[in-house]
Symmetry: none
Subunit: 413 residues, 2 copies
């Protein structure tokens, strides 16, 4: 099956918003054995939409489009779809009921624009949108499948994963593909590549490896293609067993795992608790932890002690320590972690102190220097990291490195 | 002048690498009064490249392409350009000298692949690449300009800024376009659309409006096109002056502003300070604030008090309040904010307490119920919000709503 992706929206074409949908969609298609041949971004313009649909339909079997489905005047995709497929808009009760319920729960009265979102082209199959008010639409014409989805990333992603990919696979026109992603944190991509080079070169030809680096982690995606799904799964597991000794404790999980989830699972089991003291990460570690549902069972809380005054008053960092070693030091990081554990009465504690940038560095402690301490009942770790000049990336990297340090401490205890 | 952008590269089309070049290019074009009408990403495939060039040339006056100019076998753009323009590759001495110099400086011997990079199509104007070895190429055919650039972002960007944009403006064929984005928070897109419907319908035809919604904010982008940039700016400002009374205090800024930036500017001016007490937002408000460089001038710190024990011990919420009203209540939110201001000795404080979900709701207080308090020296606000069932979105919405509530308090003080 060959696919093309059409991204509709002035904001994309003029460069105001970066299109992240197309890369996400084409990765998902690849995972399901569908090859993407082209991505087109066009304006909210009837002529352009019509032409893009007609052109794509000549070249492939599957056209996926996002955008232009909102309730406002500038969103014209639905009307264009009616013209293209020679059909008209009809009222769709199930969609209307879903929208009404959504608004009722939030206590917002439904207006005419919302009501119009329940109008869909007569000839399409309606695809429910669990996270929004604009439904997806599935058309078939001359054995080409056309699917229209909302442009809001999380709405589109839930729709693709929950509805569209299963339906595409059910057409029997895709092959068997199995993917598993190994999540690593703390080894730079190029170093990792060297460590696993021999293993990578020995992979059989039906298994492909992709490096997916980000400031959060380096993910290694193994994709096996063939006809027997169970055999592919077994083969991937065998390869991962060979990989693990090469990368050691950098691996923190698989697929959609997060470091916070991995930590929380162990802490909940041990009925242990965690507190956090943040300086340069400014609340982001607490944020990453509290994205995890049910974390209140093991996470007590955190203090963002941005000022030195708070470090001493709240976390009881010794003013002497700050004077002698500075706020960005091994000693301060450790006292912050111990102060957090005492203040919030927890088994484990994690602390960060550093220079996120872009200003504030010195020759001795350049921007990107960050000390991280993790303490537990029996041992502690305290490590220095030096990242780059980008504030946002430094915050992300420091937060992930801190969670990884804590995970290593916990599994060793 | 109307432009189309062609991005060449398998890695883009299969979603392994996100295309950031096209958004950057189209923003630069917009600033120079050139309208981008379409962005196409295609594979390193001769037939696809030829077809994309031919199609684009029919629709616009300027075709900008990136990628496929590297020295390796999979980079075929240059050969395709020769076919398309009916020309052949010739040796280009200036480019060769530049490449040789570059390699000499880095102490790397030149190989045949590098030497081949000095071959260029005979009919093109060579555009120097200051940061790399693949030169840019400028063609004209049937009064359409075609420009080929390397895909490496910083090579392409330097080439666009230093060479291509000045040459495009020198053609005298560019017009004027002006964009301004109004940032709103707290009014759902459909409600906003109704409020401004009459104003929107009365916009002159050369000004277009786009709604850009996200869980963070609804952005309204106004785009004006014409010939006189200063006149367009004045016209947009006039329209915004008419818009503001319709949406009131939901507007927090323009273009790339964030709520934290807007708040920080005022606080720094007044030499006032801020502290935060977070329950359900779990550190995300502190994180959004500390993404702002220089925030240490006005942000003291935050406490994530996830447990009731911390709410009473640290923020001095009265245990009676928790017993009588519950942790998710107006009373608790207010006491948390006041506790934070006292604990961290700040002028202003912000507090959130709610049920982020997916579990933990009740009939009286469903998942998504969140109380937010903002306190200052002279007044306070305390409001209840009811969002949806998605934990991550609830955290984002509550954080933005809290910052907006604080901003409104600050501007009224």
């Amino acid at each position: 099956m060959k696919a093309e992706i059409i991204i509709i929206g002035d904001e994309i074409v003029i460069g105001q918003v970066s299109d992240t949908n197309s890369a996400w969609i084409s990765r998902q298609l690849t995972l399901s054995g569908i090859e993407t041949n082209r991505i087109v971004s066009i304006r909210d313009h009837a002529g352009d939409i019509h032409a893009a649909l007609a052109d794509a339909g000549k070249r492939c079997d599957l056209v996926l489009m996002t955008g232009g489905l909102g309730p406002t005047k500038d969103d014209i995709t639905k009307k264009c779809l009616c013209d293209f497929f020679g059909t008209t808009l009809v009222f769709h009760q199930a969609t209307f009921d879903f929208i009404s319920e959504r608004f009722k729960n939030r206590g917002i009265p439904l207006n005419r624009l919302n009501r119009d979102q329940a109008l869909v082209p007569r000839s399409c199959t309606v695809i429910p949108n669990k996270n929004g008010t604009a439904p997806g639409m599935w058309f078939e014409k001359d054995s080409v499948i056309y699917i229209s989805m909302p442009g809001v990333p999380h709405e589109m992603e839930t729709m693709m994963t929950g509805e569209i990919l299963p339906r595409l696979i059910a057409t029997g026109r895709t092959g068997a593909i199995f993917h598993k992603t190994v999540l690593t944190q703390g080894i730079p991509e190029s170093v990792l590549a060297e460590k696993i080079e021999t293993w990578e070169n020995a992979l059989p030809s039906h298994i492909r490896l992709a490096y997916l680096p980000s400031p959060m982690a380096v993910r290694l995606r193994l994709s096996a293609s063939g006809s027997d799904l169970e055999a592919l799964k077994a083969e991937i597991d065998r390869q991962i067993a060979l990989l693990l000794p090469l990368v050691g404790d950098a691996v923190y999980g698989y697929d959609d795992e997060t470091l916070a989830l991995a930590i929380g699972r162990v802490l909940a089991q041990r009925k242990a608790t965690l507190s956090v003291a943040e300086s340069c990460t400014g609340g982001n570690i607490a944020h990453l932890i509290t994205l995890t549902p049910g974390c209140s069972a093991w996470f007590s809380g955190s203090v963002t002690a941005y000022s030195n005054q708070l470090k001493t008053a709240l976390l009881r960092v010794n003013p002497e320590t700050l004077r002698n070693h500075g706020a960005v030091s091994r000693e301060t990081a450790l006292e912050m972690a111990r102060g957090a554990a005492t203040l919030m009465k927890t088994t484990y504690a994690l602390a960060t102190t550093g220079i996120a940038g872009p200003q504030g560095g010195s020759a001795e402690k350049p921007v990107g220097t960050i000390w991280i301490a993790a303490t537990g009942p029996a041992k502690f770790f305290c490590e220095k990291f030096v990242f780059g000049n980008d504030r946002e990336k430094n915050i992300t990297r420091a937060s992930q490195s801190a969670l990884q340090l804590l995970r290593k401490l916990i599994v060793q205890e």
